[in-house]
Subunit: 198 residues, 2 copies
DNA sequence: GTCTATAAACCGATAGAC
DNA sequence: GTCTATCGGTTTATAGAC
């Protein structure tokens, strides 16, 4: 099990990704240099190219990993109830999951334009899979007569925008607990699609 | 009224700002060079410094002008009705105004971190003034018993996030007219804060 | 696996000619 | 008002020593 001095492939790789994620979120992809990332990790710039073929692929891998985690997390959410319960479960999951990974969410919405057309398309597919899950709930609720949604696709995007907005202000040590934020947002989401009382 | 050849201060200035706005929105502030902006305008890089002391001030001026325009536009909206009518007027104004200036809105939310602390604070004040206008409507509706809002500050931010979301997908030649988008969004906003039927 | 050194290009901003 | 030229510094990525 002896290991050569200076050989840290198994730990340097993750550390490169963590540093890149943090720095990209803080300063933006274009504003962060490979030298800054290397300095954060504690290696020289040249060593980074052992873990990524280039800077843009490093970004793409971070975004793709995040989307995979989002979809995997959603798959574990209990969706056994009806549309109303499902919509609340989705809203609460979205808030909770995204607040736990603010950096990844931030760059997922900010740095898409720094991807190649091909990589952009790949991420678009994954994002659409997530949106389709929400739209499916809205459609089900519409058919069951529990929801009044004018345009399910548009409403899906509007609700996700609203839920994402939590990232722009939430601070873990703020005046509101995570549970309360989840409750308020899922309540607003529920109301926004509910049948109007006549 | 004769003008010296090569003297175009009155038209080059606006052209610099237009080019910068477009390029910042497309590629991001950090990714755009002064040389790119100059090329777009049709002058040499050095000439840009006749119109801005530096790159960051150019960004700030674009953002500040935009926020001034937003506040001026809001001031002209008819707010003579009650809270319900005011909320619809605000929502429709927001959608309409922002969809007409997608580039300015985009960089207003993306490039704040590239401002100095001082310039960031100035913009924050203006943005807060806009948010306060919406929160005032929510508070009024809460007092009149027409709205059921859990936390007016949080709800304000959530509604603005939802309204801003329209920018991520709206295309002027898409399947929905501007009027219809306005109607759908203002309807969702209205429902999200409305009293829950018992 | 990491280092140093380097290539080739680009950056923001300024000085001075016209 | 705009140009050319330039300063001093940065960038991504690679080559080769260890």
């Amino acid at each position: 099990m002896a290991r050569k001095t200076g050989s840290h492939s198994d730990i340097t790789g993750p550390r490169v990704r963590e540093a890149a994620l943090r720095l990209f979120a803080e300063h933006g992809f274009a504003a962060v240099s490979m030298r800054q990332i290397a300095k954060e990790v504690g290696v020289q710039a040249g060593a980074l190219y052992l873990y990524t073929p280039d800077k843009q692929t490093l970004l793409f891998d971070l975004l793709a990993d995040h989307m995979r985690a989002v979809l995997a997390g959603l798959a574990e959410v209990d969706m056994s109830g009806g549309p109303v319960a499902q919509l609340e479960a989705f809203s609460r999951f979205h808030i909770r999951f995204h607040l736990a990974r603010p950096d990844a969410v931030f760059i997922s919405y900010m740095e898409l334009r720094n991807l190649s057309e091909e990589n952009f398309a790949k991420l678009g597919e994954m994002r659409r899979e997530y949106e389709d899950a929400l739209e499916g709930i809205l459609v089900a609720g519409q058919h069951s007569g529990e929801f009044d949604v004018d345009d399910t696709k548009l409403t899906t995007l509007a609700l996700i925008s609203m839920l994402n907005g939590v990232l722009t202000w939430y601070k873990p040590d703020g005046r509101l607990t995570l549970e309360r934020v989840e409750a308020i947002y899922s309540d607003m989401v529920g109301k926004a699609v509910r049948l109007t009382p006549v």
